[in-house]
Symmetry: C2
């Protein structure tokens, strides 16, 4: 079972022409991308996330601005990741309770291993602890 | 054969909490996404693109900033699209010669129907006209 970790995507280009980063199936992302979403115009005062999953794996990328992601595992391990490079992603496994806080104008791109299914979300912290401690 | 057209993705949220837009397979994007890339820090003086494809279809989204996309078909039809909403994408078919110009801080997200293959690019305008006029 993979734990939260940063993924460095290729960054091709230079300051004179700009940069491009690429994801193709079966390369740096350890799952098949079934859903893609992006979040934007999130006020700095808002904390998003606050859930874990049963199965869904995700990669979060700050394609613009800065995102501070806090992950917590059921054994109490807490990590804080500051995403601020458009070529760096954070792998978030299903068993990580996670919260995100966004800088003004941040755009978060998320690659997910499954289509949306509310049943896959664990939105109670107590449930999260119980479910993932027992595995 | 589909021509260039705008796609409006769902935009969920409100100003107090921010917004999210989503792509799942087989919904608004008329192909299976095999490659995903994003471009950033492109100087305003740079024009990107200047090619067509044999097969690859794409959807371009300005998830941050503004992108001006010019498409030209082999019959001479020219269209100019101004992308400036993170929930609006532009479908670019293989038979559209296209160029893009970016605002300062624009981030372009591209969904593509095929993995990267240089042989699929038509980088000569003359070849583009010949190849696509004959189809």
């Amino acid at each position: 079972m993979l734990n939260p970790h940063l993924i460095e995507f290729p960054k091709m280009g230079n300051p004179e022409i700009g940069y491009i980063s690429v994801v193709e199936q079966n390369t740096l992302v350890p799952f098949e991308v079934k859903r893609l979403f992006w979040t934007y115009y999130t006020p700095e005062s808002i904390v998003r996330g606050r859930h874990a999953h049963h199965k869904t794996e995700q990669v979060l990328i700050a394609v613009a601005g800065r995102i501070t992601v806090t992950t917590e595992l059921s054994d109490g391990t807490i990590q804080i990741f500051r995403l601020e490079n458009p070529n760096v992603g954070l792998y978030v496994p299903p068993h990580a309770w996670h919260t995100m806080q966004y800088s003004h104008a941040a755009v978060q791109l998320v690659l997910a291993s499954d289509v949306y299914n509310e049943d896959d979300y664990i939105r109670s912290y107590t449930d999260f602890k119980e479910i993932w401690q027992s595995k």
